[in-house]
């Protein structure tokens, strides 16, 4: 039997949509590559580690100073808003631990354990960290900000003992606060943006920020604006970073070195568009230049029967993602939207646009590149090779890839794609990845895989 709806991605957007659709009477499958529900924002610790009482506090509990980090971290209780999303999933078939490698126009969803088919699809595959290269960024100990957060939230492991947090965007705050509260010494938050006054128009968000700021103050974590980590150093692991004051174009003005064993760095997020592009959904540009799925006010994509919600349609945080999911769910079931949802979404969208304005990524990061700085981590393409390819006539992202190999390796350009596109002088084109997750040749040969909806 076909599902009425298959939702891919169990973050706030996918969970909200699946729950809404199930309540509207549809037979729904919710698929995610992670072993647990929640996506990035609501990433849960393993159930075996248990949680305490339900709480509303977004930061981690404070720990005794004398406890060692490894033993000390206790699983926090799940947040109330996560439980609400989860409880609405009654009747939804969960397919967790299923990595979707392809989606076909027939709405066959192929994952590494089988194939599901549905009448409609909703794509809510979220985003991943946006990173830019700098000397030493491939040293162990340098992680994405989201990666450090996932390690902590999902595994209760702190990325290091002395940690620098750097990049740009409001996300650096919960990362630094979480790490500090978990017992790490956070040597500083280095935020590239300088002017943040515009955010005052959103008092609720300001209050949330103030909460993180209080946590940072409690743990004596300095927050520096207009600064960036411009190099990482160490023999086999990270030992210290070079931090610079930067100008408005992000060129380094004055530098100093800071010892640390971990760096959590992120410059915003890149929407994950592999599956919608496979389906042929039209894309457009977010206000920060990111390629996103084009949707109408019902979260419908250009392909009939396919909706998209959450950060695939524009980065804007968990609340916006959840509202997207609710709207998509009601659109799919044809049920009326509860009062206020649309207005709240407009406001969250506007705030997301403001964040793109306040926390832009400037091309000045390119000044840090040296001839031997690795741009593509997988294929180990140094900056010099990019320049050589340009001298040979590579004028855009694709021809850089064809001539110098950035983006041809395991990660398929997810990590270097932004940087390579900017080096080519353009915004990243929508990704063409017919194989969204690696699949063994024998499993590909066995297409379509034997196990289907009915075997579940």
């Amino acid at each position: 039997m076909k599902y009425d709806l298959i939702v891919i991605g169990a973050g706030p957007a996918g969970m909200a949509a699946a729950g809404t659709a199930a309540r509207g009477g549809l037979r729904v499958a919710l698929v995610d590559s992670a072993a647990q529900l929640g996506g990035q924002f609501h990433r849960q610790p393993p159930p075996e580690l248990g949680g305490g009482n339900v709480r509303d506090d977004p930061t981690h509990e404070r720990l005794g100073r004398d406890q060692s980090i490894e033993q000390a971290i206790q699983a926090p209780a799940p947040r109330r808003d996560f439980l609400r999303l989860r409880d609405r999933l009654t009747g939804v078939d969960l397919h967790l631990g299923c990595r979707v490698w392809a989606v076909e126009p027939s709405f066959a969803v192929h994952h590494d354990g089988g194939t599901l088919t549905g009448e409609r699809l909703l794509i809510a595959t979220g985003a991943h960290d946006r990173v830019v290269p700098f000397p030493g960024w491939d040293l162990p100990g340098v992680m994405t900000a989201g990666g450090a957060q996932a390690l902590l939230k999902g595994n209760l492991v702190v990325a290091g003992r002395r940690i620098a947090v750097a990049g740009t965007g409001p996300f650096l705050l919960p990362v630094a606060a979480g790490l500090a509260a978990a017992g790490a010494r956070v040597v500083g938050v280095f935020e590239a943006a300088r002017q943040m006054g515009a955010l005052a128009r959103y008092p609720a968000k300001l209050a949330e920020g103030a909460g993180y700021a209080a946590t940072l103050a409690r743990y004596r974590v300095p927050y520096h604006r207009g600064q960036a980590v411009v190099a990482a150093h160490g023999a086999d692991e990270l030992a210290k970073v070079t931090v610079a004051k930067i100008d408005d174009g992000w060129r380094a003005i004055r530098t100093r070195e800071i010892e640390c064993d971990a760096l959590a760095v992120g410059y915003g997020f890149v929407p994950q568009l592999d599956l919608p592009v496979q389906l042929g959904c039209a894309t457009t540009r977010d206000s920060d230049g990111s390629a996103i799925v084009a949707v109408d006010d019902q979260m419908r994509t250009s392909i009939t029967g396919v909706h998209a919600a959450g950060e695939t349609t524009g980065v804007g945080g968990a609340e916006l993602a959840e509202l997207d999911g609710i709207i998509a769910g009601h659109s799919i079931t044809g049920t009326p939207l509860p009062d206020g949802v649309r207005r709240r979404r407009e406001r969250a969208r506007a705030f997301a646009r403001l964040l793109h304005e306040v926390f832009p990524v400037r091309d000045g990061w390119r000044d840090r590149l040296r001839a031997d700085t690795i741009v593509c981590r997988c294929e180990e393409v140094p900056y010099q090779a990019i320049c050589d390819a340009q001298a040979l006539g590579a004028v855009d992202t694709r021809s850089l890839k064809l001539l110098a190999r950035p983006g041809m390796g395991w990660c398929q350009g997810r990590m270097c794609g932004y940087a390579v596109a900017r080096l080519a002088g353009e915004d990243p084109p929508p990704p063409r990845r017919p194989i969204a997750q690696p699949i063994s040749l024998q499993n590909l040969a066995a297409y379509p895989l034997r196990s289907t909806n009915d075997d579940a």
């Binding site: 590559s33 992670a34 072993a35 990035q40 610790p45 393993p46 159930p47 075996e48 580690l49 490894e70 991943h128 960290d129 491939d138 040293l139 162990p140 100990g141 340098v142 992680m143 994405t144 989201g146 990666g147 450090a148 957060q149 996932a150 390690l151 999902g154 595994n155 209760l156 492991v157 990325a159 086999d236 692991e237 994950q272 981590r377 997988c378 294929e379 180990e380 390796g409 395991w410 990660c411 997810r414 990590m415 690696p438």
Partner: protein, 81 residues
Amino acid sequence: MSGFEIVFSGRPIPVRPGQTIGAALHAAGIRSWRTTRINGRPRGLFCGIGVCFDCLLTVNGEPNVRACLTVARPGDEVTTS
């Protein structure tokens, strides 16, 4: 369920149930477990969510498994990829 161990290149590594292999290694102070094929550079966790493929290792003979996505099971034998 209480903690258990996996084996990384002959060395026992404690695991809290439900943790990924990458997280357990990281917590044990092992932050790189692979060298790159061109420059021989050490690599470990980077993105933490399965998109960068820096954290590849071999688990019970299966090569190129993402350590950050793979939940550890008691007795797993882990080696560099």
